[in-house]
Subunit: 129 residues, 2 copies
């Protein structure tokens, strides 16, 4: 199953390349992606990314310093913070997602329609067994 590993590196290269066009790391892209339809607290962000909460502080701070993300105090919990995209961040997130989709579909151009369908169907089975 070496092919699967190689393929994953290929995909990661694509993500890194798209990110690099906007000076974003893969993890920053993922952060923006998570925030597209959510306004989670720091802890929740960490769970989505599989990271410790102490890692999130810096991650969000760097994004905030670039004006992509915004911290607002939680209305229900005096300790908490809600993280949300700024308009600029949302623009970047949408643009990045489009580019990624384009590059990935371009990667799968070598497959014909039935193959592609078959492939993604198998992939989603792997993800949700």
């Amino acid at each position: 199953m070496d092919a699967l590993v190689q393929l994953s590196f290929q995909v990661q290269r694509i993500l890194a390349a798209v990110g690099a066009e906007h000076d974003l790391s893969i993890i920053q892209i993922r952060l923006l992606g998570i925030l597209r339809d959510r306004q989670p607290g720091m802890l929740e962000v960490g769970q989505h990314l599989g990271l410790d909460k102490s890692s999130i502080t810096g991650l969000v701070s760097r994004a905030e310093k670039r004006g992509l993300v915004q911290r607002t105090p939680s209305p229900h919990d005096g300790r908490g913070v809600l993280v949300a995209l700024t308009p600029a961040g949302r623009r970047l997130a949408e643009q990045g997602e489009m580019q990624i989709t384009r590059r990935i579909t371009e990667l799968t151009k070598v497959l014909n329609a039935t193959q592609r369908k078959e492939f993604t169907q198998l992939a989603s089975v792997l993800l949700n067994p």
Copy 2:
């Protein structure tokens, strides 16, 4: 093609988990993998990994400090250095590869034989169009 991206993260998580069992990062695992059947110079290592030569110095030094890898002066080029696995490094590389193979095949257990064959066949088409 979101499934492909998700799948790649899933695979990367597996690689990171296997690495973590031996205190290895993904990049260190890749380094050991490259050296299994080669004795390249620093520059060549960089090309395999897609990294700048200045990144390789530290990578190899950290691995060398742990006794996994060895630098020897190139016999043909006074400037050059050849990187090779130590016995301990080779053991780790083989062990790691076995674990990765096991975890990946375990991941694909949800597919039956024909599906698995189909899937890897499509994956390798994606890799070498």
